[in-house]
């Protein structure tokens, strides 16, 4: 089965609500068939607008959206055949679970037997068999969410859009729902476009993530690459935790550069700096810096512990290092734990390849 790598295509899409500000700028995005793609970004970054344009509730100001090769910008939402899961579930409160699920089938004039079969299947997929006669108000938040997912899938849409569907659930439920949605996606192979501002949700579920900021896709890549190799300081900052150093490149080679900070110099991996004299922000993941490194690492410094915060599975240590008192370390809570005390001096080391010199903030 050959899959269309451009199943959904945003072609140079602009969107403006007031004619003054572009909410979405020149969006170019291809989504492959069967892919689980997440649009991730802070609120106001344009991700939900993109979703609404795909669903047909907003029209692009410029550019085209294509679904399976067909331009859909002028097709009304009810003819697009796109399933959607809304933030607040949007279950019809006056209909039972069965009627909610049967709604998309009834408007398509599906036979009664066929409806029963499909509703049954969809409900068992979200493990809610036997809940047909309940009203949405009689269900818990998680169950309502599952009904909403089942309803978006019951008419076998080509694409399912999910607009922060787990936002209203508590943490544990949210995590288990993440896996559930991921498994449903894997088992039926539908294309999913998922919108969230929760990065851990995005990392858990997606094949690819498009990080939005300021109306633009900052980076589009798979979760591992996004976390390990952010291409700019916004992505580095937005995804996971991050220690940053602002400085100026004083020496640059092929895969290493020397960055001058306020009163010291560090070695870093040049990503978006090209030449000497450029300003840069160096980004380093907290878990990439080690205490008392045994290997020979090319960045070795001594810092003073400012604060120790116990987090259960790990301990966060805030250090005063290289003139910044916001340097965070994550220390796993293993049996060979170190004695960490405030105002103690410790040695810290990291490899220059993990310290990514990105665009200046």
């Amino acid at each position: 089965m050959s899959k269309n790598p451009e199943f959904v295509k945003f072609d140079k899409v602009d969107k403006s609500y007031d004619g003054k500000v572009l909410v979405v700028k020149d969006l170019q995005l291809d989504i492959a068939e069967g892919e689980f793609i997440t649009m991730l970004g802070p609120s106001g970054s344009g991700k939900t607008t993109c979703l609404m344009m795909l669903a047909g509730f907003e029209t692009p100001t410029h550019g085209e959206i294509l679904l399976d090769g067909n331009i859909i910008s002028n097709i009304p939402p009810h003819k697009r055949g796109i399933g959607m899961v809304f933030q607040n579930y949007a279950l019809f409160p006056h209909m039972t679970v069965y009627e909610n699920l049967a709604f998309p089938l009834r408007v398509r004039k599906v036979e009664k037997d066929e409806i029963d079969k499909k509703v049954d299947k969809a409900l068992s997929m979200v493990s809610l068999s036997g809940f047909e006669t309940r009203m949405p108000a009689q269900l818990s938040g998680g169950q309502q969410q599952r009904v909403a997912v089942a309803r978006a899938l019951v008419f076998d849409p080509a694409v399912v859009l999910m607009d922060e569907p787990l936002g209203a659930l508590d943490k544990n439920l949210r995590e288990s729902m993440q896996y559930e949605i991921k498994h449903i996606h894997e088992s039926i192979g539908v294309t999913v476009v998922y919108v969230t501002h929760d990065q851990s949700e995005a990392l858990t579920m997606s094949n690819r993530i498009a990080v939005f900021n300021d109306g633009k896709v900052q980076q589009l890549s798979n979760p591992a690459e996004l976390y390990e190799k952010p291409v700019n300081s916004f992505v580095a900052e937005f995804i996971g935790e991050n220690n940053t150093f602002n400085g100026e490149v004083v020496d640059i080679a092929k895969d290493k550069c020397k960055v001058k900070l306020a009163n010291s110099e560090i070695l870093a991996n040049p990503i978006s700096v090209k030449s000497k004299g450029e300003k840069t922000t160096v980004s380093l993941r907290p878990e990439r810096a080690l205490i008392n490194p045994t290997d020979k690492m090319d960045n070795m410094f001594t810092g003073k512990i400012e604060e120790v915060i116990y987090h259960g599975d790990h301990t966060r240590v805030r250090l005063n290092l290289l003139g910044s008192s916001e340097f965070i370390l994550k220390v796993p809570n293993s049996t060979s734990n170190l004695e960490l005390k405030v105002s103690q001096d410790i040695n810290i080391g990291w490899n220059s390849v993990d310290a990514r010199a990105l665009d200046p903030k």
Binding site: A55, G56, F57, P76, P77, H78, K79, R80, G81, I82, G83, M84, F86, Q87, N88, A90, L91, F92, P93, H94, F103, P104, V107, R108, R151, A152, F155, L161
Partner: protein, 420 residues
């Protein structure tokens, strides 16, 4: 499981229920004291007057008290032939004592309502008593018949007997264009005199159509109000409420200015050539005027409950309906509309009940064909001073409203009403 339920005790050994009641008692008293003024107010201004209205509407004690001896003697009279001497003399002595108290005039008027001709009949008896022409030592029956031949007619005595019970439903029957025939059976008045029935039907008809018009116009307005962005919806809300803040009389008067034959609307029609100048349509002092003015005045009562319900409907529900494949109409009809039913119910009930008892507007712009039952009630309150009849019709109206409420409760359920 419930059979296993044991009485739960608190740590002091008092049953939990008892101690809970004790704890809540203070709050209950406080709550009651807070509502007590309102309760008192309602009793004084609402329950008591309704009771008063009810007794007034069925009260017929006046004659009962005026002719005590007569009615006592009449108990043994079969009412088919002329009553015996005893009844005549009892009536004579009753009447004589009324003459002494100078209350004979009232009796004459009251009996005249029951049977035409009574006024003159009693007046002649009065003059004879005044001139002491009646000899009490001989048959009073013969002397009375001599005074006025009407005393020899059995219908007149039947009419007196009909007024004997201290309570009567006659006023209610009159409200439905019926009356007690001389033999005590209930008959309808002649077809060309059935004015009340026409009024009742017209009241229902006008209330129904005003409700319908308000709904047809109010629904889109309420929807706009609920979905427009704040800055526009506030302005629209003020437009809806502005007439609400204007005096009812002013609004009705302005409709008179607009709708009269030489009024603004007619001038406009003539200007655009819709009607000829010498053939201006009458839009006031008929049903049209009542419809137009009442719809405008009652519109906010429809819009506000609808708005408050629509405000709570998430816009994503319509979107969900559309994204699941429903056309905009299907999404509206299957998703949005059913969710607004509580507001529709509240708005329609409110407008209908207000319309059914409307008074000032139809009185001013309704003319003869556009007046409602309340205008008739007011007429009897102020013009004929027949308060018991006005009370009876008022209670009939109240009963009608309660019946409508009951039907609504059966159909939709009052719990589903949302007033905001």
């Amino acid at each position: 499981m419930s059979s296993e339920t044991k009485q739960i005790l608190t740590t002091d050994g008092i049953p939990l229920e008892v101690s809970l009641k004790k704890a809540e008692k203070k709050n209950k008293i406080k709550a009651f004291l807070l509502v007590a003024p309102l309760l008192l107010f309602l009793i004084i201004t609402y329950i008591f007057p309704i009771g008063e209205m009810f007794t007034r509407s069925i009260d017929d004690k006046m004659i009962t008290n005026m002719l005590p001896k007569t009615f006592k003697e009449m108990e043994s009279w079969d009412g088919k032939e002329l009553p015996p001497e005893a009844v005549f003399s009892a009536f004579y002595y009753d009447y004589k004592s009324l003459v002494e108290k100078q209350e004979h005039g009232k009796l004459g008027q009251r009996l005249n309502k029951e049977k035409n001709g009574f006024n003159s009949t009693t007046k002649r008896l009065f003059r004879n008593i005044k001139r002491k022409k009646i000899d009490e030592s001989i048959s009073i029956k013969e002397q009375m018949i001599k005074v006025h031949p009407n005393w020899n007619k059995v219908e007149y005595w039947q009419a007196i007997k009909r007024t004997a019970p201290p309570y009567t439903l006659a006023k209610y029957l009159k409200g439905m264009d019926m009356y007690y025939a001389p033999d005590g059976s209930i008959v309808q008045v002649d077809e060309d005199r059935r004015i009340h029935r026409i009024l009742w039907l017209r009241t229902l008809e006008i209330a129904f159509f005003v409700t319908l018009f308000c709904f047809l116009m109010g629904y889109p307005i309420a929807h706009l109000l609920a979905t427009l962005p704040m800055k526009y919806s506030n302005l629209l809300m003020i437009c809806v409420l502005l007439p609400f803040w204007t005096s009812l009389l002013v609004r009705t008067a302005s409709w008179m200015i607009l709708l009269q034959q030489q009024g603004v609307v007619n001038d406009f029609f003539v200007m655009i050539g819709l009607v000829a100048d010498d053939n201006r349509p009458e839009m006031m002092y008929n049903k049209v005027g009542t419809y137009v003015a009442m719809t405008q005045i009652l519109l906010p009562f429809m819009v506000l409950p609808l708005y408050s319900v629509m405000k709570t409907i998430s816009p994503s529900l319509m979107r969900a309906g559309k994204s699941l494949g429903g056309t905009p109409f299907v999404a509206f009809w299957k998703v949005y509309f059913p969710l607004t039913i509580p507001g529709i119910g509240a708005g329609c009930l409110l407008v209908f009940i207000l319309a059914i008892g409307y008074y000032i507007t139809p009185a001013l712009v309704g003319g003869a064909s556009g007046t409602l039952i309340s205008n008739q009630i007011a007429f009897h309150m102020k013009q004929t001073l027949d308060w018991s009849f006005a009370s009876a019709m008022g209670l009939m109206l109240l009963t009608g409203v309660l019946v409508i409420y009951w039907i609504y409760n059966k159909l939709v359920g009052v719990d589903n009403i949302k007033l905001g």
